[in-house]
Subunit: 329 residues, 2 copies
């Protein structure tokens, strides 16, 4: 096998997050489904944006958060995703590149603007996301750089890609290119409602294209239509090489062919905003995995990374994560 | 195999609990190791008893709590253990028999009095136990009724029996009689300090005499000298037919040869006193087990029973547990 230039390449919806604090009653007044990611159109985005006070704008997007976290841990990462060549798109590119991530997907020169995710963070630290996909829907199979895929140990795909039609095709192209080069493919299920929208094709995807599956408890329950964690846990084994399921304060469970691990959550002083918790967990887990560490150690690094991200607003680490785990590697 | 007259026969230290509420500072002042069960002599018992305010006296003892819970669920249970024929001993016998448990071990007519466990319950609902074994140490192999053992599906033994020398011999006699009759043997590890006192012989016991092992997180970590839950969890599989490990608010994990289940804790309004939580869990689990239910269902019933017991002072259920699980069976 050729040597690898990258540990991980992430492919996802390239999004700028717009965050604000909100009360439960604000969500009700705006008619938002708490905790979910909902796709919205441009008009709705404009209307919701006007309802937000004291906003913070930071680069986001699930897989982009993961590769940013991965690079912050000291790993070699690349990213593919579509922004428009506008102010937000330029900020997105600058942020991800400044973190040491290779990002070369050509920007869209016309069409709709860079995607935005309007995030309402309630006092319980839960985030409710409204996404206007904008330029993301322009991402298509031609944007998949198979040389980079072949040069990366793991190709990491976010489940949200399953929403725009062209991105879905790009996703399959990337997975096939990775396997053709003898690499591995990882999928994050992203959101229980996303799983609900695409359950049958996700089940097929997990069986046929995915080596490393990331999901949280609600997502895995949705995938297997299970009414409790254990029932979902019973079903996941054997469907992919490794499944890592996050359970919030209950930590995570890792299921491999002949191995199961139960990892406690890292202690966290105060949970401020859970945006990006799953993305950071995947970053830490894949960092350990691509370094050849034991699965329980991968889960612990994932938990540490998630613990950092939920301690502040925004889905990307504020502390260089490599420092955080310095003593463990 | 002959038909079974009993589902479970429990053997343990027959103890009356003396409970009081205490502050952390009281434990410090009295020099008590928080959360542990410590064996004390008669003089210390007298001294500590005088330090207790507003005491509640209730029948206790680990295996006795379990069979009382088991009978409360509607199962057929017997018990063996030694009390003296004194006021406390008569109260113990009356309580356990009134709950429907067969209890025929002859009372000691002379020697030290019925055992007492002085329990200090701190505001965090944790219990610190000081046990004066008294008449318990008279329990010996002659007290083991092998007809009852042979007539019970499961013989349930508490790890505390490993402290008095004669009880240890009785323990082995009971386990051998159970297996000779084609029945199963269950052990509860009782306490991390108890495990620490007897680690090597417990390991041998689990491998050679135990089919169904109960432990909490601290006990299983102590048994395998593991510094985190996952490390202990990795070691337990294969050492007995079924191991059920309780984790407090994190629920329980059941490990069988080809089966692992992760069961969430039952929701509890307020945790008042954790005395007897593990005993009640074992009662519920064994009730499901002897009814032939799936292991995850056994764990759920265990969790429900534990949830009842930790909601009030004392280690035995106040609500008939059969009502609690009525809708599940």
């Amino acid at each position: 096998m050729a040597s690898t230039q990258f540990d991980v390449v992430g492919i996802g919806n390239a999004i700028v997050d717009v965050l604000c604090q909100a009360e439960e009653s604000d969500l009700t007044a705006l008619g938002l489904a708490k905790g979910a990611m909902t796709l919205i159109d441009s008009d709705t985005a404009d209307r919701l944006y006007r309802s937000m006070d004291d906003v913070i704008e930071v680069s986001g997007g699930s897989a982009a958060n993961t590769v940013a976290g991965f690079a912050s841990l000291g790993g070699k990462a690349a990213y593919m995703g579509k922004v428009k060549d506008d102010l937000l798109g330029q900020a997105f590119a600058q942020d991800i590149q400044a973190g040491g991530v290779t990002f070369e997907t050509p920007m869209a020169l016309d069409g709709t603007g860079t995607a935005q995710c309007l995030i309402f963070v309630t006092p319980d630290a839960e985030r409710t996301m409204q996404t206007y996909l904008g330029a993301c829907v322009e991402f298509n199979p031609n944007d998949v750089d198979t040389d980079i895929i072949a040069a990366a140990k793991v190709t990491y795909l976010e489940g949200y890609l399953w929403d725009p039609e062209q991105a879905k095709k790009a996703f399959i192209k990337a997975a096939e290119a990775a396997h053709a080069a003898g690499r591995e493919v990882s999928l994050s299920l992203s959101d229980p409602f996303c799983v609900d929208r695409h359950r049958e094709s996700f089940l097929e995807l997990v069986d046929n294209h995915v080596d490393i599956l990331f999901a949280n408890e609600e997502e895995i329950k949705s995938l297997y239509r299970a009414d409790n964690f254990d029932a979902a846990f019973q079903k996941v084994q054997g469907h992919c090489k490794v499944a890592a399921v996050t359970r919030g304060a209950k930590g995570s469970v890792v299921v491999a062919k002949n191995e199961i691990h139960i990892c406690d959550a890292s202690p966290v002083e105060k949970v401020v905003d859970t945006t990006g918790a799953g993305d950071a967990y995947a970053a830490g887990f894949l960092y350990g995995y691509t370094q050849g560490l034991e699965l329980i150690e991968c889960a612990r690094i994932g938990g540490l990374a998630a613990g950092e991200v939920i301690g502040h607003m925004g889905g990307r680490p504020e502390t260089p994560l490599g420092q955080l785990i310095g003593h463990r590697i």
